[in-house]
C-alpha cells in the first residue's frame, strides 16, 4: 500500500519530469533512435553478415557480442542526428556479426572484411562529439563459457491471493554476466531481512539477490521505472508463484544449476536429449498425466456467443477449401459428372475398347485418416496480459473456436495442456481425448489455469506416445507456445531448444509431424532453430491465430 505522502511525491515527480526536461534530454529526444522498431531488420542483417544463425540481444552494456549473439542497446541518442544514430545501430550490428563470424574480439581488426566500413565509421565519428566510436560499441566477449540462456527473472514476488487474474508482465532490459543463486525452495519466505523493499529500489544501484518479504499486490507498473534502473548482476530462483512478471533476458555466467536427486518421482518416465553429450538421458523427465473433468459450461456458452462471428467465418472458409480440394475425380458414384472421364469413355468406345465406368466426381469427407493432438502451453507466461487480454484466455478462446470448426472435419483430435516444475513434475492435462465428443469436452477449457514452466520436450514425447496408439494415416501435433523452452532446473536456451528439436525429429521418424504456433513476434528468433521450415506459423495477433490453425488443418488434409 502506498501512503498518501508517497502518492503526492510521485505525482509531483511525474509532473516535474514532464515540465522540466533537461536541455540534454531534450536534445537527445530529438535524435534518439530505438532498437525495437528495427530489431528484426538488424537481426536479419546480422545473420547475413555472420553467415550463420546469430541472435540479437538487447542490453545497455557496451559489449559488442558473444559467440552467438549481437548485443544492441535499447536506443542510441549520442550522435547529433537521428540518421547518425541509425548508422550506429547498423555499424555495431555489422561489426558484431563480423566478430562472431571471424572470432576476432577487437572490432578494429575487422575493418578490412568489408571495404566500405572504414569510410562509414570515419564519417560518423565527428557526429559523436567526444565519445569514441570504438568505446561506444565495445569489444566482443568470447572468453567466458557463457552458455546462452533465457530466463525469467521473477521480481516482485507476491503471495497469491487477492487478484488472481491480474498478472502484469513487463519486458525488462537485458543483462549480461549474471550470477544466480538458488532460493530456498521448500521453506516459505519467513521473517525477512528488512533490507530492501521496493520503495527503496529507486535508490538501488545493484540488486544483490536477496529474498525479500513479499506483500500482496501487483504493483509492477508503478515499480517498472525503478526496476529498469536495476543492474541485475545477481538473481535468485524460487518456486513461488509470481504475482507480476518482469521478463528480462539474461546471460548467465557459466554455472551449473543441476538439482540433486530428491525422492524418486512417480509418473511416466521419458528420456531427454543432452546436446552436449549427444545422447539421451534415460528416464529423465516424469510426465504426470491427468485427465481434466472439471468443466465450466457457462464459460463455453458465453465464449460460443462472443465468438459466433469468428466461428461462422472460419467454418465458411474451411468448407470452401475442403470442397475445392476434396473433389475426387473418376469415381464410380457421385453427384457430378466428370467431363474428362466422359470424353475418355467416349473415345474408348469409339476406338473399340471397354470404357471406364468411373465417370463421376465425388466430394469426400475423409474422416479416418487424420489424428491430431493440440498441445497448449499452460505455463505462467501465458498468465500475462498482452493487448488488454490474458494470453491464456486468448489461447483458450482460440482453441474453442478452432475446436468448434474442426469437430466437423476431423474425427480424431485431442486437446491437452502442459506445464512443468522441474523434470520430476511435468504435468500433462488431457482436456479432450481422441474419442471424447467435442460437445462435452469443450467446457473443460474454461477451467484451465496457468501453472509452472514450459518444458516442451517431455510433453511432446508423451503426445507422440498417445498418437502412436491411433490408427490414422496422418498424425500431427499442433503446439501452441510462446516459443521459449524453460524450466526451473536448467531447461533453457540452447539445451531446451535442442531437446525440443530432437523430440520433433524422433516423432517425424515415426510419422508424427509437429506444427507449432506462436503469437509473439520475437518467436521468429528461436522458432526456426526448433522447428523445420514450413512447420511453424508465427502470427502477429491473437485474432490471426484461429485462422492460421485452421489453415494448417486444411493443408494437412490436402496432403492426404
Amino acid at each position: 500500500m502506498f501512503e498518501w505522502e508517497e502518492n503526492v511525491f510521485l505525482g509531483i515527480k511525474a509532473l516535474h519530469r514532464r515540465l522540466f526536461v533537461s536541455p540534454r534530454e531534450r536534445a537527445a529526444s530529438v535524435v534518439r533512435v530505438h532498437l525495437a522498431p528495427r530489431r528484426q531488420q538488424w537481426f536479419l542483417l546480422a545473420n547475413m553478415i555472420a553467415e550463420k544463425p546469430v541472435a540479437v540481444f538487447e542490453t545497455p552494456n557496451a559489449v559488442l557480442c558473444d559467440h552467438e549473439r549481437v548485443f544492441l542497446p535499447p536506443e542510441f541518442s549520442i550522435a547529433s542526428t537521428p540518421e547518425a544514430n541509425e548508422h550506429l545501430f547498423q555499424l555495431k550490428t555489422i561489426l558484431a556479426a563480423l566478430a562472431i563470424k571471424t572470432r576476432v574480439a577487437d572490432p578494429k581488426a575487422l575493418l578490412d572484411e568489408i571495404p566500405a566500413l572504414k569510410s562509414r565509421i570515419a564519417d560518423l565519428q565527428p557526429l559523436l562529439g567526444e565519445t569514441d566510436f570504438w568505446q561506444l560499441i565495445g569489444r566482443a566477449e568470447f572468453s567466458r563459457a557463457n552458455e546462452p540462456r533465457h530466463s525469467k527473472t521473477l521480481a516482485n514476488v507476491l503471495e497469491a491471493a487477492q487478484q488472481p487474474e491480474n498478472v502484469t508482465e513487463i519486458e525488462g532490459k537485458g543483462q549480461t554476466n549474471v550470477q544466480v543463486q538458488l532460493g530456498d525452495d521448500d521453506q516459505p519466505v519467513e521473517a525477512e531481512m528488512p533490507i530492501h523493499t521496493f520503495e527503496k529500489a529507486e535508490t538501488l544501484e545493484e540488486y544483490s539477490g536477496l529474498d525479500r518479504k513479499t506483500d500482496d499486490e501487483d504493483e509492477l507498473e508503478e515499480h517498472a521505472e525503478a526496476l529498469h534502473k536495476l543492474d541485475m548482476k545477481h538473481v535468485v530462483r524460487t518456486r513461488e508463484r509470481p504475482r507480476s512478471i518482469y521478463r528480462s533476458d539474461i546471460v548467465m555466467d557459466g554455472l551449473s544449476l543441476d538439482f540433486g536427486s530428491d525422492a524418486p518421482a512417480g509418473g511416466i518416465p521419458y528420456p531427454e536429449w543432452d546436446f552436449k553429450k549427444q545422447q539421451h538421458k534415460p528416464a529423465w523427465c516424469h510426465i504426470q498425466p491427468r485427465t481434466q473433468i472439471e468443466a465450466d459450461a457457462a464459460w463455453a456458452q458465453s465464449t460460443a456467443t462472443k465468438h459466433r462471428a469468428v466461428i461462422l467465418d472460419l467454418r465458411k472458409k474451411l468448407a470452401a477449401l475442403a470442397t475445392q480440394t476434396q473433389r475426387a475425380k473418376r469415381q464410380p458414384h457421385g453427384p457430378e459428372l466428370d467431363i474428362d472421364a466422359v470424353i475418355a469413355a467416349q473415345v474408348a468406345q469409339h476406338s473399340g475398347h471397354a470404357p471406364d465406368e468411373r465417370l463421376y466426381i465425388q466430394r469426400q469427407r475423409r474422416l479416418h485418416d487424420v489424428a491430431a493432438l493440440v498441445l497448449m502451453d499452460q505455463s505462467f507466461s501465458t498468465d500475462s496480459w498482452v493487448d488488454d487480454a490474458r494470453v491464456l484466455d486468448t489461447i483458450r478462446e482460440t482453441l474453442f473456436c478452432v475446436g468448434e470448426v474442426m469437430d466437423e472435419f476431423i474425427e480424431t483430435f485431442a486437446v491437452a495442456g502442459f506445464s512443468s516444475n522441474t523434470r520430476r513434475q511435468c504435468d500433462f492435462h488431457l482436456i479432450k481425448d481422441f474419442r471424447d465428443p467435442w460437445r462435452t469436452s469443450r467446457a473443460r477449457l474454461g477451467r484451465l489455469e496457468a501453472n509452472g514452466y514450459t518444458r516442451i520436450g517431455p510433453a511432446l514425447r508423451h503426445a507422440q506416445e498417445l498418437l502412436t496408439r491411433q490408427s490414422a494415416e496422418k498424425k500431427v501435433i499442433f503446439l501452441l507456445t510462446d516459443g521459449r523452452p524453460c524450466d526451473y532446473d536448467r531447461y533453457e536456451g540452447e539445451y531446451g531448444i535442442r531437446d525440443v528439436r530432437k523430440a520433433i525429429e524422433t516423432g517425424t521418424r515415426h510419422g508424427i509431424m509437429t506444427h507449432a504456433f506462436a503469437i509473439e513476434q520475437r518467436a521468429r528468433e528461436h522458432f526456426p532453430r526448433m522447428f523445420a521450415r514450413q512447420h511453424y506459423d508465427i502470427v502477429p495477433n491473437p485474432k490471426a491465430l484461429a485462422a492460421s490453425m485452421c489453415g494448417a488443418f486444411a493443408r494437412l488434409r490436402l496432403a492426404c
Binding site: Q40, L44, M48, A348, P528
Partner: protein, 259 residues
C-alpha cells in the same frame, strides 16, 4: 561426343556419372534447390551425348494419360497421340521429368516399369508394349523440402533411381558461372556471389527461398546491360525473394555494403 553449345561448369564428377549411368542404362534422380542448375545440367549432357531431350514439367494435375498419350476424337474417328514419355521411348531420347513429386501418384507409377531391368512401357489404351532402346534414359528431378503440400516421393519410387544431389556451387565456381554466362568482370561477379552467400544464410530462418544461381546470372545480365549494380542487384535478387519489409531492408543493406 561433341562439344556442346550449352554453357555448364562442372562442380564435381556429375557429367562422368551421367555418362556412365547412360551407358549402364540406369535411371537418374537429381535433387536440389530451385535454380541451382539441374535443368541446365541435363540440357548440357543431352547435347554432349548427342541425344534429343524431352522435358516434362510436372504439376499436381499431371496424370498418366498426360504422360503416355491419349486418343483424340476427330470427326467421329479416334486417333492415338503419343504423350511425351511414349515419344521419348520410341525415339530413344533422354526424358527429363522436372519436379516429379508434384505429379499425381498414378502418373509416377507408370514410369516404374521403365526404371528396372524391363525398360518397357505398357500402353493399356492401345495394347502396345514398347521396349526402350539402349539410348533411352530417364531422369527425374525434385526439390527436397520445397513442397508446401508436404508431398514427397514414395520410397518405392525413389529406390529405383541413382541419386545425384545438387547444391549451390562453391564461391569460386559460382563466380566463374556468372562471368561465363554473362561476361561481367570477375570482381563484380564475386561481389554478387558474396551477396548470395550472405542471403543464403537467412534461408535457415525460413523467411525466404534461397538465392538461386539463376537470380545471380539475371543480376549480372542487368549490370552488363548498363544498369547501376546496386539497382540491378535489388531488382534481381532482393525483390524476387521476399515481400517482408524488414528482410528487404536488410538485404538492401548487404547489397550496399558489397557493391
Amino acid at each position: 561426343m561433341s562439344t556442346p553449345a550449352v554453357f555448364y561448369l562442372e562442380t564435381g564428377r556429375e557429367s562422368e556419372l551421367f555418362a556412365k549411368a547412360w551407358e549402364a542404362r540406369l535411371p537418374l534422380m537429381l535433387k536440389g534447390p530451385t535454380g541451382c542448375g539441374k535443368t541446365r545440367f541435363v540440357e548440357y549432357m543431352a547435347a554432349k551425348l548427342g541425344r534429343p531431350l524431352i522435358t516434362v514439367s510436372c504439376n499436381e494435375d499431371t496424370t498418366a494419360t498426360d504422360l503416355l498419350g491419349r486418343h483424340l476424337l476427330i470427326g467421329g474417328e479416334t486417333k492415338w497421340t503419343d504423350g511425351p514419355v511414349t515419344r521419348a521411348v520410341r525415339e530413344g531420347a533422354i526424358l527429363y521429368l522436372d519436379e516429379v513429386a508434384e505429379a499425381r501418384a498414378d502418373a509416377i507409377v507408370v514410369i516404374h516399369s521403365l526404371t528396372d531391368h524391363r525398360r518397357e512401357l505398357f500402353l493399356d489404351r492401345t495394347g502396345e508394349t514398347l521396349h526402350a532402346p539402349p539410348e533411352f534414359m530417364l531422369i527425374i528431378s525434385y526439390n527436397p523440402g520445397y513442397q508446401r503440400s508436404m508431398r514427397e516421393l514414395k520410397p518405392s519410387t525413389r529406390q529405383r533411381f541413382i541419386g545425384l544431389g545438387f547444391g549451390y556451387p562453391s564461391t569460386d565456381i559460382e563466380t566463374r558461372i556468372v562471368t561465363g554466362e554473362t561476361g561481367v568482370d570477375e570482381k563484380q561477379a564475386r561481389s554478387l556471389v558474396s551477396i548470395a552467400t550472405k542471403v543464403r544464410s537467412l534461408t535457415e530462418l525460413s523467411l525466404l527461398e534461397s538465392v538461386s544461381t539463376r537470380l545471380l546470372v539475371d543480376a549480372a545480365k542487368l549490370i552488363r546491360a548498363g544498369l547501376p549494380p546496386r539497382y540491378a542487384a535489388t531488382v534481381a535478387i532482393a525483390e524476387p525473394l521476399t515481400d517482408d519489409p524488414d528482410a528487404l531492408a536488410a538485404i538492401k543493406q548487404v547489397i550496399e555494403l558489397t557493391l
